[in-house]
Amino acid sequence: MAKSKTNPKVLKPVFDAEAALRFASEGEPVADQALSPPRKARPRSPARSRAGYTEITVLISDELLPRARAEAARKGRTLDELIEKLLSKHVGKH
């Protein structure tokens, strides 16, 4: 394959949605302090080591992943917990 003669892009894209969502989610406790008592941090999901659970790999689009992470952070859940809850809503728990 011929090498491109264009210069490599070294500047970060101006519109960085993922960084915006990550930084915004990181800062949520700051906003909460002014409006309501701080939420207690939820313990991290023990799903990976819990009996009855299996670890799987799922492909999620680059566009959807930061939104899912932001939503999980907003709800005080891990990404695992959020996805399991959404999935169980669709297919039922049993």
């Binding site: 970060k12 101006v14 519109f15 960085d16 949605a17 960084a19 915006a20 969502l21 990550r22 930084f23 915004a24 989610s25 990181e26 800062g27 949520e28 700051v30 906003a31 002014a34 939104r67 932001a70 939503e71 907003r74």
Partner: protein, 218 residues
Amino acid sequence: MADIIGVIQVKGGVGRSTIATNLAAILSAAGPTTLIDCDLPQGTSASWFATRDSAASGRDLDLVLARDHVELVEKAGELNGSRRYIIIDAPPRIAAITRATIILSRLSLIPLGASAAEIWSTSDLLRTLDDARRYKPDVDARIVWNRFRAHTREARELSEAVRRELSLRELDARLGFRVAYSEALARGLSVTEWPDDTAREEMTALADEVVEILGGKS
């Protein structure tokens, strides 16, 4: 790709919506512009636009509401390819939506009056701007002096103290203490559409400086 300009400040009543609405009106003459109002339910920018819609229809300007940071990022992303400018009127607190605004914006404007209360609020915002630079090293946030009474010693001393103690750049353009800004806002107009030559010159100078800064980044 749109030039995104955020208007941020922790304290309310400092002129965020005045600056956001005027910039939106002026910059829309150069291309399609969207004003995003994130300060809900107050919605000053939205009220201004609703008033303007009937008074100045046909202009290349529209309004979008964003209730949280996820909605803001989604809507800005959708508009990014089709708009020349996006102006974000952020809420008066360091909320997730304000943090998202800082990251999305090529230039963040921080309205500031020469009063101790407003300057103290800005000190809090400085920490958030420093944090934001971990995600976006070229965060550019600049003070816009508003309701500035250049002839008073208090204003001169406070502005000198800010320059000395806060590590923030400031725009050369300053907005004075003028009733024209609230008069124009109440009618859905910019001050460039209102019969006050001094206010018009101040706001035009502000918009020109913003365009010059953004042009220098391209």
